[in-house]
Symmetry: C2
DNA sequence: TTGTAGGCGTTATCAG
DNA sequence: CTGATAACGCCTACAA
């Protein structure tokens, strides 16, 4: 592999001049430029990206930490982040975490090692207090409401639409309601917000027996429906359209009357099932997150989600 | 930011010794190790990833070129590639291309610049002959049948199941069949294979009027159904379950009799619609592609797809 | 306009 | 066991 010194030697100019030519900088004579370019073409030379990064002191890479790969929430968020990143000349590194604190800590360490210019957590298991120290060095962005913790954040305001979802169930006369939740309520801000909305609308807390935890995908939805069907619920607030679809499948297979259902994510399946859902506008959140990551923005930015009524 | 020289100076040892300590290599006295570690902790030192990469001569990064972000084919392929990559200590860079030849060429150039150790094309618009020259330097992997072109490849053998799909339509007495195809037949191997299967089963080529091109997502499916409904088809071989779902929606809205339909990708929607589909086993393909990228494997590897009959 | 020399931060060789 | 010193390949004051 030819390097800049080879080009310098063969063209009869110095590395400084060669560098100027390949970076299209001023103060180069036409002759020098021609001579250098000729050798560049002959040797099929291209500058080495790693050396450039080291010299420049940045990677132009944004790490995106994602707990799971097959969940639509993360797919749409990553997609919008990627789009925004490329529009600004940044690249995106995919960082799967499976909600493993050790892995997340590892990524944070890599940020310190300058493996990335910034890190976006689409979600995280690590307490915010563990993340905070890293926010000083590189840029760290989280995609949920960090409360009063001073970390850059872009997130949807879910509270409002969760209330609307509960109201919809109430208005359609659901008497016994169950909820599909991601992970336990203590760990997940989503769960907390959903349970809070229930309390607000129905004036009482949702009994634990009617909360199904750790529901993350379509298959989980099928299993979760099994649990709730035993208790004869007539309404389910789910945490995803595709997840709700899994539940529908269970009810259909058992030839049971379908409970009223509310989805989330505004996916294709809620359209097919004619089910109300919530659009969290992750495209917008993703772009905001990236702008925070590259320093175009700072602080905390929230996007209002939209309840889509359907029945 | 502290660097290895700072540690050397403050600990009273040389950079060589410091390097040995932080990399946990032999031939270091306990005293030296203790002294170095103490300073490392004091200064909160971590080695710089870029400098390491430059020194080592590799990035431990695999670029994954993906034409579109919201298509399940690419999502599942990227996911399995990522999983396999991390299992081997590699990272994954997401490279969107929108089937733009200039962008694809750009990524190939970046490969030359050693921005990635290898490049996986989940699909590409660039002719294979343009890609071939780069396959010499870094590792290039394509995810479709490269025919007789000598490039590393992992792909599904679709021919067989496309024939099965056509036979299914025939067995269920579809008389007038339409097809949803991605891009034009000349450009897309998928289209060619689907049309070939039709010819094989029905003994004649599918009239162009019954081919709807450039159908890539759910909305496209809705539009495409509009076109085919005018011609009163009673069977549609689609190129995706979610895409087929878009078509179903159109037929339902118009209160038209639903044609027989075959999907692809084995997504949730085909389950919900009780529609036969084809599983291309992209998880397997993704892992093979990555193993090719990191040099564990070489050559061309094909995976048989599976027809899932449902009605 | 051009070139020299030093810096970016590590790793590796090889003599001590 | 330890340490100078030379890579890795590029950029950029500063000097000429």
């Amino acid at each position: 592999m030819a390097n800049i010194h080879d080009i310098a030697r063969l063209s009869g100019f110095s590395v400084a001049t060669v560098s100027r030519v390949i970076n299209d900088r001023p103060y180069v004579s036409p002759e020098a430029k021609a001579a250098v370019m000729k050798v560049v073409r002959q040797l099929d030379y291209v500058p080495n990206a790693m050396a450039r990064d080291l010299s420049a002191g940045h990677t132009m890479t944004i790490g995106v930490v994602t707990p799971m790969r097959d969940h639509p929430y993360f797919t749409s968020l990553t997609n919008s982040i990627t789009r925004a990143a490329f529009a600004r000349g940044y690249r995106v590194m995919l960082l799967p975490s499976q909600y493993d604190q050790a892995i997340e800590a590892d990524y944070l360490e890599q940020l310190r090692m300058k493996a990335y210019d910034a890190l976006i957590f689409t979600s995280h298991a690590l307490p915010l207090t563990d993340i905070l120290p890293y926010a000083k060095t590189g840029q760290v962005v989280v995609c949920h409401d960090p409360g009063h913790v001073a970390v850059n954040a872009a997130f949807t305001d879910r509270g409002e639409t969760y209330v609307e979802g509960c109201q919809w169930l109430k208005a359609h006369h659901a008497k016994k309601i169950g909820m599909f939740l991601p992970r336990t309520a203590k760990l997940s801000a989503t769960s907390q917000a959903m349970l809070g909305a229930f309390q607000q609308v129905f004036g009482e807390a949702l009994p634990e027996a009617l909360q199904v935890l750790d529901v993350m995908n379509n298959e989980d939805g099928y299993q979760a429906a099994q649990q709730l069907a035993k208790q004869h619920v007539d309404g389910i607030f789910t945490n995803g359209d595709d997840i709700a679809a899994g539940a529908v499948q269970y009810y259909r297979e058992q030839h049971l009357a379908l409970p009223l259902m509310v989805g989330q994510e505004n996916q294709l399946s809620s359209q097919l099932l004619n089910m109300p859902t919530i659009d969290h506008h992750f495209r917008v959140v993703g772009e905001l997150a990236l702008r925070l990551a590259v320093g175009e923005l700072s602080g905390q930015h929230q996007v209002a989600s939209t309840f889509i009524s359907r029945a």
